[in-house]
Symmetry: C2
Amino acid sequence: LSIPSIGVFDSGIGGLTVVKELFASIPHARIVYFGDTARLPYGTKSVATVRRYAEEDTELLLQHNVGLIVVACNTVSAVALDVVERLAGTVPVIGMIEPAAHEAVQVTQSGKIGIIGTQATIASGAYESAIASAAAAAGKTVSTYAQACPLFVPLAEEGWQDHEVARLAAKTYLMSLVEAGIDTLILGCTHYPVLADVIQETVGAKVHLINSGAVAARQVHAAHLAQTVNDADHLFMVSDLPSRFRTLGERFLGRSLPTMHEVVFKEAWILRRSA
Amino acid sequence: LSIPSIGVFDSGIGGLTVVKELFASIPHARIVYFGDTARLPYGTKSVATVRRYAEEDTELLLQHNVGLIVVACNTVSAVALDVVERLAGTVPVIGMIEPAAHEAVQVTQSGKIGIIGTQATIASGAYESAIASAAAAAGKTVSTYAQACPLFVPLAEEGWQDHEVARLAAKTYLMSLVEAGIDTLILGCTHYPVLADVIQETVGAKVHLINSGAVAARQVHAAHLAQTVNDADHLFMVSDLPSRFRTLGERFLGRSLPTMHEVVFKEAWILRRSA
């Protein structure tokens, strides 16, 4: 089974934490990446808008001969995976939710699993459903505790992962999960691994953190063989600020990025509906 | 001089702090508002992208018979006012920068003026230029101290304006302005009036805060007569989450909002350039 390339998309830069894992586990895969930096963030927007963006992002990747699509955005994975799958047809699609849910059910001892993510991801209840299915399949009883953490994305983007402000925000958001006695916590947003240290410090060293991107990347590894490619073969596209993406991206990715390409929309306003 | 209506646009909800002032100073004006909630924020995006969005937003307002356009977004005012003016033709355009710069020069005693805003606004140097012009016209000598505060927008949106996290972030961002001895501080982003209390507390009671939206709204009042309209005549449009806009918006506006209308783009990706 030969893969022309692995398509990866995210609302912006967070998906590079997934690419980092793909590079580690499948060093010779060709990556076609799209970060929608002109319209980020997705996690504060409506389900209808995220589904429309997911459709457009998928169409862009499909134009570039991808043999597999990794939805490196938890928000899209939570509310629009069906949109991506429908468009992708026979091209396999891997989202962030199911692999992490499965891992959390395997790992938990107490059966108390915490979930953190964007407002849209948490509101969707997608992790709770996936965890319930995985628990049923494993014959385990689990409880879930979910918390949206809207400030974690801007904190990661600001580079304040070691700042007292991050510590205080983490304490505010995670207090109730700690009190609930979770022993496993899903980092349900691709930005959150950047804040892993302060999150671990806040919930305590005994709580097992699950990096949804890393778990999903392992699933890619298990499922697919890859061609050998050169660094120059990768294609990285963003809808805004390619140079900022490159600079910040190297922090997320832990290595240098190839040439960045920029894409834009051709747009015209139309009145959709009133509410 | 009769105005069919006052067009106001912003990247999202922050522009309502300007509408609040317009309602106070010109209670009978008809407002046509657009908040680009599907693509917010603007302040972290490139000049090219903000200029493109400003063009599209202006075209939308011009479709609704506006007799005056208020650019209630400091980022657009800083990097794309010429785009709005060119499209608007004979329709007058009022931005956020020049009125606040003029006010700051009038108010300062020490001649030390602080400026806070988004990354894009601060990087543009637009306030510094406008202050230099106003100071030259007034025969005053002033120095400026600028600071981008990227976390202030998400903090205002999270409703954490009284939270310890906001206090700590304010201290981190504003410390250098306090040490520079400013006596006047321009709130160069329409979200910041929501954080006015914590900002005032941080910089000290003697520092004069300038609300750029309020100052610009006074300029509208001075320049234009308005028709008498009913509440139902106003038109409020957003590109995403109309109901969240309404709920949050009442905090920004201090009164209830009429029916919200939603607009969307018709879009197709095109590859623009590489970098």
